[in-house]
């Protein structure tokens, strides 16, 4: 290899250099800004994590696997996985290989930013070496990989169903500019390299292409303009990058270490929230995942659009999207970069100002505690013992008395000592307030409820409502008291032989994973095991973390009754793909919501178990 | 306001009032509040119009106040009333006229009760016999004294010295009529004009040249309400009722209020002082109040009887601006002279309400 130009420079690299300088400068400033927007303890925690070997290694691994290989996407959709990783990893490899070439052949030029990118323009092949040929081969190979990815991307853009997406994101103008420049980069590179392949050498892609072009293009006059075009495409892409979804490329590289450091959203618009917003690649996976998507009008309320509106600062739309969401968490579950859609929305809700502040001063927790202590236990014991159960039905269970009756009946059958915390209705657990963005207010209720729970003397708190369960488990200071959802509790009793459940052959049940229980608390298997003891279990079309929200969620503030109906009906359609006899769930709200439109019986898991024990 | 509509209703509620020969019973309280009213009723009917009105010193209260204050049962009131009827029967009269609206309501109520429950009437007859060896016939006609004045309104108008018009402009005076609740609200057909649009007072006012104004709270009680006033803890309630009426009539700028009940003119008159003391507000012109007159006082005025003989010095609200407006002469010096023409004490003056 020899250099074609003594000064190692040609003006066509200038656009590339401008783009590079701009994007680097922008990203560095942005990263520093995000860092300083973090609260102080978070900043410290982040720095510590960077130097902790375990997290540092995890950071590298996660960045490699997620940003380059897109493993999550592979798991979800092979075509999309290939498309994204081909472009990301291929490009990454081209850059790496370019540097290797420079280091191998013209090591003195390694300090020039543009050299590895435009290597083939600046060198002429003098002799074919094995490393050289190998590198050339790899360069062409990865270019081919990228081009295949680009072809898929183009197909996806115009016919998303072919690549397995029902809907794809509607791109903004800047996104389009970024997209087309990105699409343009690699064909241009192929052209540019092909035009100069008879000088610089090439491999299986560029050499034949060079031969073909030379058959009808008599001279090399078009080579330089093509390199110019390649450089300009790069420049355009890098210059628009901060204003497009491609900002996710640098943002995600900061997001991963920050998340690994355990940092959470503390401010609706700053710091980690900002980073999540910029990390959104606008891939649109969340659009299909969103249960609201059954109504076409709600497609624009998916997390991807929240992120876009947050970047634009469109307050009206931010409020609208934030309030509408059911907070089912499915967008988070499917998101490749882990943008926390629900948390982002709740953070926006928390920001809201109110003219009225809640005041629960009139609720006398002491007298409620006294009342509860005076309430006799059901079961063998008269006083609280190890294993005494305090059953909190919660607001919603009071609207579904079948759950309450089945749960208490099962407690009796298991021979436990129990009492009910809210036989005549109690305080709300506080979770609905939190969902509405009023966490501080919820603390007041939490304090009162803790006082009441402590007064009972029980060390197991049983919940039949996952909404309550999540908040009791995560937000309540209840050290020494086991907080358990009834589906888990009864599964354990069955496993321990304390509850005898008879299997009804031929009865086919489907389990609906309630959002708060499944994605919210990670409980998927225990209810299935318990139900398997009672009947045959079939699965819904989407289940476990992919389960579809019933549409009744308290998470949504603004969805009206009629707007929720198609969501419920869609969830029901998915639940009944295997034609189960009955639908079983573990949430009173899901139960009430499904019962409204279901064409077959809907039961709580406690009812099923109680009926067969 | 569609005047013909009212006339139509009045036509539906005309009651038969015999022209002559009445047995008259007085009110318990009017002689204290408006001492000349009953006297001039008799003077006008007997001396001026030549009617036979009989009264006896043996009659008592009708027990209406005690009944409405829940201090006696209705049977007691019935026996008292039966005695009044016995006096009428003994005097040879069949037409019974009462000075008091509550009495009128009480008599009507008792007669209606007896009509519905004849056994009760029999029992009362027996009780009356046991108590005072008296027997009675039920009156053939029962009327309130204002019914008679209403009936005689034309004759009075013919004899009138003054008309209820402003002397300066010739405009009719704007008159608020206030009917006692017990006049027709219980038995609309027993009142002239019914319960909703009674014309017993408005008929007089119009016959004598005035213009009646209808204001939204026209039907409302004066506020007396017996228990509401008599128990001091409830007295604010009584006052508030009256206040509501004044607030409602204020935009109509009435020149006077005429009433046919013992309590109403008293409360409509005296509460104006109390309201002025409490709120600083007066409802008449130039800091004066709105004079509240009984129908007898009004009849006396148009017939030219001296205002001080009619007892206007007993009113809280000064009558003088009204007299000036109509053009009735009066001698201010005579206002506080007693029957023997010696000066009686002059009352203290309110802080806000202008009184002379």
């Amino acid at each position: 290899m020899r250099e074609r130009f003594a000064n190692g420079f040609d003006p066509f690299v200038i656009p590339f250099l401008i783009g590079m300088a701009f994007v680097l400068g922008y990203c560095i400033v942005a990263m520093i800004r995000v860092y300083f927007q973090l609260p102080k303890p978070d900043r410290k925690r982040f720095l510590v994590s960077l130097v902790t070997p375990r997290t540092a290694w995890k950071n590298i691994k996660d960045i490699f696997l997620n940003c380059l290989i897109h493993v999550k996407l592979w798991k979800r959709n092979k075509v999309l996985g290939y498309m994204h990783s081909s472009i990301a990893f291929g490009w990454f490899m081209i850059i790496v290989l370019g540097h290797l070439e420079v280091m191998l052949f013209v090591p003195e030029r390694i300090h020039l930013f543009y050299y590895p990118i435009f290597f083939n323009y600046f060198v002429a092949e003098t002799e074919q070496t094995l490393p050289g040929s190998l590198l050339m081969f790899l360069m062409d190979f990865f270019l081919l990989i990228i081009l295949s990815g680009i072809v898929l991307a183009i197909i996806k853009r115009f016919a998303s169903r072919i690549v397995g997406m029902r809907r794809t994101t509607r791109l903004s103008l800047m996104d389009r500019v970024g997209l087309y420049s990105l699409w343009a980069i690699f064909p241009l590179r192929l052209l540019a390299e092909s035009f100069t392949a008879h000088i610089s050498g090439g491999s299986f892609l560029t050499i034949p292409a060079n031969w073909i072009f030379r058959q009808f293009l008599g001279n090399d006059l078009h080579a330089l303009p093509t390199w110019w075009a390649y450089s300009i495409a790069l420049c355009v892409f890098m210059c628009v990058l901060p204003f497009t979804r491609y900002m996710h490329i640098p943002a995600e590289m900061l997001l991963i270490p920050m998340r690994n450091a355990g940092i959470k959203i503390r401010h609706p618009r700053k710091g980690f929230a900002l980073l999540e917003v910029y990390s959104c690649p606008a891939c649109g996976v969340c659009i299909d995942a969103c249960p609201m998507g059954v109504r076409k009008a709600n497609c624009k309320d998916a997390t991807v659009y929240l992120n876009r509106q947050l970047r634009r600062g469109n307050e009206r739309r931010i409020a609208e999207i934030s309030d509408k969401c059911l907070l089912c968490g499915k967008c988070s579950a499917v998101c490749q970069v882990g943008v926390e859609g629900p948390e982002l929305r709740v953070a926006q809700r928390e920001r809201r100002k109110y003219a009225l502040t809640p005041d629960y001063g009139m609720i006398d927790a002491a007298s409620l505690s006294q009342h509860l202590s005076d309430l006799p236990f059901c079961g063998p014991e008269t006083a609280p013992v190890e294993g005494s159960v305090l059953y909190f039905a919660g607001c919603m269970t009071h609207l579904t008395p079948a759950i309450r009756r089945a749960t208490t009946s099962l407690l009796d059958k298991a021979g436990l000592s129990w009492k009910m915390m809210d036989p005549d209705g109690g305080l709300c657990c506080g979770r609905p307030l939190m969902m509405a963005g009023r966490s501080e207010t919820a603390q007041e209720l939490i304090k009162k409820n803790v006082e009441i729970i402590r007064a009972s003397g029980c060390n197991t708190l049983l919940l039949s409502c996952p909404i309550c369960y999540k908040v009791f488990k995560e937000e309540y200071p209840l050290q020494g008291i086991r907080v358990v959802h009834h589906s888990v509790f009864f599964q354990e009793l069955i496993a321990a032989g304390k509850l005898q459940v008879q299997h009804e052959d031929g009865l086919r049940l489907v389990w609906h994973d309630p959002c708060e229980l499944g994605r919210g608390c990670g409980i998927y298997e225990q209810p299935r095991q318990a139900l398997s003891a009672a009947a045959d279990l079939v699965e819904a079309g989407r289940h476990h973390a992919e389960s579809i929200c019933c549409g009744g969620s308290l998470g949504s503030l603004s969805l009206g009754f009629e707007q929720r109906r198609p969501m419920t009906q869609n969830a029901l359609k998915d639940l009944t793909v295997a034609d189960p006899d009955q639908i079983v769930t573990g949430c009173p709200l899901c139960l009430a919501t499904f019962s409204r439109y279901a064409d077959r019986p809907v039961h709580d898991i406690a009812e099923i178990l109680d009926g067969r024990s | 306001m569609i005047y013909q509509g009212k006339q139509k209703i009045w036509a539906d509620y005309q009651k038969e009032i015999p022209d002559d020969h009445w047995f008259y019973v007085r009110s318990c309280i009017r002689q204290n509040f408006f001492p000349a009213s009953e006297k001039y009723f008799l003077v006008i009917c007997r001396d001026m119009l030549g009617r036979d009105i009989f009264e006896t010193e043996h009659h008592t209260t009708c027990a209406g106040i005690a009944y409405h204050c829940d201090t006696i049962p209705q049977e007691t009131a019935m026996t008292v009333v039966a005695r009044q009827f016995a006096l009428m029967t003994e005097a040879g009269y069949e037409n019974f006229v009462t000075s008091c609206i509550t009495s009128f309501g009480n008599y009507c109520e008792i007669l209606e009760t007896w009509r519905e429950f004849p056994e009760l009437e029999a029992k009362i007859r027996e009780d009356l016999w046991k108590a005072c060896r008296r027997e009675f016939n039920k009156p053939k006609y029962i009327a309130h004294a204002s019914d008679l004045v209403y009936k005689f309104r034309g004759e009075i108008a013919e004899r009138a010295k003054y008309r209820l018009v402003a002397r300066a402009t010739g405009e009719p005076l704007r008159i608020v009529e206030h009917i006692g609740c017990h006049y027709a609200k219980m038995f609309p057909h027993k009142g002239v004009g019914g319960a909703e649009y009674p014309c017993v007072l408005s008929g007089m006012a119009e016959a004598w040249g005035g213009q009646v104004i209808d204001y939204p709270e026209r039907r409302h009680c004066c506020g007396y309400g017996f228990r509401q006033y008599h128990i001091k803890a409830n007295r604010g309630y009584s006052l508030s009722n009256t206040h509501k009426k004044f607030e409602s009539m204020e935009p109509f700028h009435p020149d006077m209020i005429i009433t046919n009940c013992p309590g109403c003119p008293y409360f409509l008159d005296r509460w104006q002082y109390v309201i002025s003391e409490m709120t600083g507000k007066t409802y008449g012109q130039n800091g004066y109040g709105i004079p509240a007159l009984t129908y007898e006082e009004l009849a006396g005025l148009v017939l030219g009887i001296d205002p001080w003989d009619l007892g206007f010095q007993m009113h809280q609200v000064a009558i003088e601006p009204l007299l000036d407006k109509i053009g009735i002469p009066y001698d201010p010096a005579r206002k506080y002279l007693g029957v023997d023409e010696k000066k009686i004490k002059t009352p203290g003056l309110p802080t806000t309400l202008k009184c002379c």
């Binding site: - | 306001m1 509509g5 319960a195 909703e196 935009p251």
Partner: protein, 340 residues
């Protein structure tokens, strides 16, 4: 099918009478319509639009009139008296003639309650107090000086209905929905007006009625106040001051209105009572004519040959009246063809 052409007299040429005449003509009879008014169509012809489709009443009465044009119709004619003969009835008409008929159909309809009897509401006394009939007339002719760009309008439901003191303890059935219909129409005419409906119960039993109610609430912002108006007074500017108890709030309520519409109820036509007594047809204790029973023989009287259609037996909606008229026509047909 019919041996001798029988005579069927229909008293009243409102929609019940017209529809029955139309059906009987179709069955081959020659009914006689007797109408005391100079025109046919009855109350419905005076109404502007009909709930729940807001169709012009002319859409109903126009075709009915046209299709009964061939029926012998005696306008400006009252029935002076009726005599019952063996199997026949002799009607003496106000023009002195008589009509011997084999069947009599009472389609005598209702009387609108005389709102001035509720003296406390001041109909006929206060300028701004009108009735539902006045309002419909205004919708038809837009000629009523009392309705002049009102800013606040009230509707009083149950005027002379469900009121023993007014002599009618029954529900007039159609006033709730009529009030809502008229309230919406007022809002359409005067979008800036505040409209209040004072009701005791909202009885919106019919098809689409509840939708009307929701529309009135949500789309027209009509205020519904549960409480009966106790009294109406006139303010110094001639507007009316309405007092009621807001029973859901447990407090008295007062509002000044530019227009108060009284939903006068439906009471029986006194003429019908008079005729019924003459021929020994029972009158119910609600004042309406008494059907043989109120389940499956609404159109039949206690006397053979005497039939009922429409609101002579109680308050009816238009579709009910039409259905009864058809049913009565069929009942008459069966009666006349019964072997005896």
């Amino acid at each position: 099918m019919v041996n001798r052409q029988p005579v069927i007299s229909i008293i009243g040429a409102g929609i019940a009478g017209l529809e029955a005449a139309r059906q009987l003509s179709a069955l081959g009879y020659k009914p006689v319509l007797i109408e005391k008014a100079p025109v046919v169509g009855g109350h419905v012809a005076e109404w502007n639009r009909l709930f729940p489709d807001m169709s012009p009443s002319e859409d109903l009465t126009g075709p009915l009139r046209a299709q009964t044009a061939g029926v012998r119709t005696l306008l400006n004619t009252e029935v002076a008296s009726i005599n019952r003969l063996k199997d026949e009835y002799n009607l003496i008409l106000s023009d002195g003639s008589s009509l011997l008929c084999q069947a009599v159909l009472f389609a005598t309809g209702f009387h609108l309650f005389d709102a001035s009897k509720k003296e406390e509401y001041g109909y006929g006394i206060y300028d701004r107090v009108i009735t539902n009939r006045d309002l419909e007339a205004w919708f038809n002719h837009k000629d009523d000086r009392r309705i002049d760009h009102p800013k606040a309008v009230g509707f009083v439901h149950c005027v002379g209905s469900r009121d023993v003191k007014a002599g009618n303890a029954q529900c007039s059935k159609v006033c709730c929905i009529t009030a809502i219909k008229e309230a919406i129409e007022i809002k359409e005419e005067f979008p800036d007006a505040e409209v209040y409906c004072f009701y005791m119960d909202l009885r919106l039993f019919g098809k689409k009625y509840e939708d009307f109610y929701i529309k009135a609430q949500r789309d027209y912002g009509i205020h519904f106040i549960r409480g009966r108006v106790s009294e109406v007074g006139e303010a110094v500017d001639g507007r009316v001051v309405v007092k009621a108890e807001d029973t859901l709030n447990g407090k008295p309520i007062k509002v000044t209105l530019d227009l108060l519409v009284l939903m006068a109820g439906i009471v029986c036509n006194p003429d019908a009572q008079h005729y019924a007594r003459e021929i020994g047809v029972a009158v119910d204790d609600d004042g309406f004519l008494k059907s043989r029973n109120n389940v499956d023989a609404i159109t039949e009287s206690s006397r053979p040959g005497v039939f009922f259609a429409g609101s002579c037996t109680g308050a009816k909606t238009v579709p009910e009246t039409l259905a009864e008229a058809r049913s009565a026509a069929l009942a008459i047909h069966q009666y006349l063809n019964k072997p005896r």
